[in-house]
Amino acid sequence: MLCQDGVVTAIKLHDIVKTFGPVRALDGLHLTVEPGEVHGFLGPNGAGKSTTIRVLLGLLKADSGSTRLLGGDPWRQAADLHRRIAYVPGDVTLWPNLTGGEVIDVLGRMRGGLDEKRRAEMLERFELDPRKKARTYSKGNRQKVALVAALASRAELYLLDEPTSGLDPLMEAEFQRAVLELKHEGATVLLSSHILAEAEALSDRISIIRAGRVVQRGSLAELRHLTRTTVIAETAMPATAVAAVEGVHNPQFLDGRVIFDVDSDHLDAAVKALAALGVQSLTAHPPTLKELFLRQYGEEVTA
């Protein structure tokens, strides 16, 4: 499938439905990932992130909808497409009687070859002992084996399903560096996560999935635009008037200060209202991804 500009879209899922018995794991999911981008795929546990990735890998067959991966159909052309893909599963289990080094080699060769230099470099960077039997690895070390196996291969598309679960903060930082390197080399990355800071640091664009649907998508800037800014102001006159401005939410008044959230499209009106009251200090910060995220999840509670 070609885009208008002639570049093959890395991932294009259109209206995917996947049911397991009575459970609708994916319920009309749309997802587009452009080549060369790091795409954050965010959602709570059980939202359908892993199911989506398994559909992309051709392990599961979608009930309906169309799936395009690097221009091909992952169900029909799985093995051919997989030459161009590296995958880190969400829950890493390894063959207990193989060593970490053997697992990395086995997966690398099955994928079509390893970059020896990168293999050595990644082992070093992730401080992994390749001689240990997989049964003796901790969860974090098993995760490192899967990461090294994926990162040591040269792929066009990396599908990473919660790749940092179990890693300590130092290793998480190492992982972020590695992903940014992949990006500079022009690779595409789908990064499923519920760790917001990670997605915020790495992603060009983000899709938020909940209950089998993508409920929000766009660049971080675009998403922020859709949401509220938090404003903290100190004014000469009582700021009660601000509460009346359209788009202002949860105003709180404390010792001459006012704290409120305002929809991004009404920010201008709110600031003008404040200016009329004599601003003495003003801080405003854009919504963090966490706030975006909570807002999307928050609806789950009321829904």
Partner: protein, 532 residues
């Protein structure tokens, strides 16, 4: 007030809940085999002449000593029953407690489930004690079932009780061994290996001691249990070393538990290769590596079985001459010596082929285990096609079954050759064993088809193994109708060496097996690969 044993009761309840199917299967399976043997043997030896014949045949058979030891009261019906069931009962009870105890101690710890429980209000020794009590209870139930079966068969009361007690104490002793092994090794496989080796050594020492009739029997728990002389002098003194060793093992296990880290052990796993060989990176290489341990274990076991059976052949004519009923049991139609040997061989070929279906199905079902654990997913996310992945496992299962057939035939020929000093029948014995291979492959192919088409029901493949066992063991005794017998692929194969080889049934079964494998492959290609 919390003690080192706090929480044992809750753990035991959890164990019983988790094993609500596994434990009954062990009890009914092992207890049932003992009970059926105990009840079926006495009618065969219904006259003093037959009993005397058994006693003189067994009393002159070194192979019987090797396998079952020297049973007291072998010239009484009680002694005969005890001798007949001892192999199944003694090895069975030891294996049962080993699997159950390790499963609820080291396996739990290795998988990390125990960690979750340890964080609750649980004493340091609670997990060990719960695993032990569970194994003890299972051993007690088997002991009781054995005594009850013997009484039901009308055997002597004191003898039956003594035998049951000896058997139970042997089980307890190896529960202690398993508990210590579970503390020593950091992996469940390692613990099973240690405890299994201890069982094999105890069994072999007793066998060699009994064969040479020397004090070596006194160096083995198997020997102590047997020297309680049920149905003979009924001595209770040999129970003392059994109890003492058990107590010492329990103290050792407790000491080890108290002096090691959670998840740790005394035996550390050796570091392995940092790089994979070229072959390992292929589906067949990986499948072979994953099944290596399984294949080696079965190869050793079945070769040894073949050797033992081969070695017993020279004693057949004597044994049968003294008891015509045995000829009837093994289906001999003529009383010529060669005909008897052929009938015995046919039975052994068939029996060993049926046993090896256990390997073939275990091997095929590894496919399902790989899928459920999520490891298949990682492989199938590479350029490996589903057909190559499944095909590689099926190939290893099939070639493994072929190799086992050859080894069983070779073992049989070696045992026979060493015993008779004749080697000219080697090719015939290899070929005879091989002629039953199509049946094994067909049972395995059913497992492939089920795994491909009905993955959730893949354990049903074991029903095939259970049925062929049932048909071979009891089909003739129960006089089943042909259509029931005919479900077993082995029933259609010519019974070498009594009958002559015909290619048609073998070829038909091979074609059918290939069709079932193809069906399974198609199913696997079309369905979701389910993880977790």
């Amino acid at each position: 007030m919390s003690t080192p044993f706090t929480g044992t009761r809750h753990l035991l309840r959890l164990i019983v809940r988790r094993d609500r199917i596994r434990l009954p299967v062990w009890l009914v399976g092992l207890g049932g085999m003992i009970a059926v043997s105990a009840l079926l043997v006495p009618p065969i030896y219904d006259t003093p002449e037959k009993i005397a014949g058994y006693a003189s045949a067994v009393g002159t058979s070194p192979v019987s000593y090797l396998m079952s030891g020297r049973q007291a009261g072998i010239d009484t019906i009680g002694g005969i029953v005890a001798n007949e069931i001892s192999q199944v009962a003694q090895l069975g009870i030891c294996l049962m407690v080993m699997f159950l105890v390790v499963r609820h101690t080291r396996t739990e710890e290795e998988t990390g489930r125990a960690e979750l429980l340890r964080s609750t209000v649980l004493g340091r020794h609670a997990a060990t004690l719960a695993g032990l009590l569970y194994g003890v209870a299972a051993a007690l139930l088997i002991g009781l079932a054995t005594t009850a079966s013997m009484l039901a068969a009308g055997l002597d009361g004191v003898g039956s009780a003594t035998y049951g007690v000896g058997l139970t104490l042997l089980g307890l002793c190896y529960a202690g061994v398993s508990l210590v092994a579970a503390q020593l090794s950091t992996s469940a496989r390692g613990a099973l290996g240690l405890a299994g080796t201890a069982i094999a050594i105890g069994y072999l020492i007793r066998g060699v001691g009994a064969m040479q009739d020397n004090a070596l029997v006194w160096a083995s728990p198997f020997g102590w249990a047997q020297r309680m002389d049920a149905f003979g002098a009924e001595r209770w003194l040999p129970a003392l070393p059994l109890v003492a060793l058990t107590a010492a093992l329990l103290l050792l296990a407790a000491w080890l538990t108290a002096h090691r880290d959670f998840g740790g052990g005394l035996l550390q796993t050796r570091p392995g290769q940092p790089r994979a060989s070229r072959f390992l990176g292929t589906p067949v290489g990986l499948a072979l590596r994953l099944q290596r341990g399984l294949l080696i274990g079965w190869a050793i076991g079945l070769t040894a079985l073949g050797l033992l059976y081969g070695a017993v052949i020279p004693t057949i004519p004597d044994l049968v001459a003294s008891n015509p009923d045995i000829a009837q049991v093994i289906g001999a139609s003529a009383d010529a010596e060669q005909a008897l040997i052929d009938a015995f061989l046919r039975y052994i070929f068939l029996f060993m082929a049926v046993v090896s279906t256990g390997f073939a199905v275990t091997s095929v079902l590894r496919l399902r285990a790989e899928e459920e654990s999520g490891r298949a997913e990682v492989v199938l996310a590479t350029r490996i096609r589903r057909t190559s992945w499944v095909g590689a496992t099926v190939l290893v299962a099939g070639l493994g079954a072929l190799a086992l057939s050859l080894l069983m035939g070779l073992g049989l020929a070696m045992g026979y050759g060493l015993g008779m000093g004749e080697w000219d029948r080697l090719a015939g014995q290899l070929g005879g064993q091989l002629s039953y291979l199509p049946g094994v492959l067909l049972v395995a192919a059913v497992a492939v088809a089920i795994t491909g088409l009905l993955p959730r029901w893949s354990l049903l493949a074991w029903a095939g193994v259970a049925f062929v066992f049932f048909q071979v063991m009891l089909g003739e005794t129960l006089r089943l109708p042909d259509w029931v017998d005919g479900i077993s692929p082995f029933w259609h194969l010519p019974g070498l060496p009594v009958e002559t080889f015909e290619p048609l049934p073998a070829v038909t079964e091979l074609v059918l097996a290939a069709a079932l494998v193809l069906l399974g492959l198609c199913g696997y290609r079309r369905r979701d690969v389910a993880a977790g």
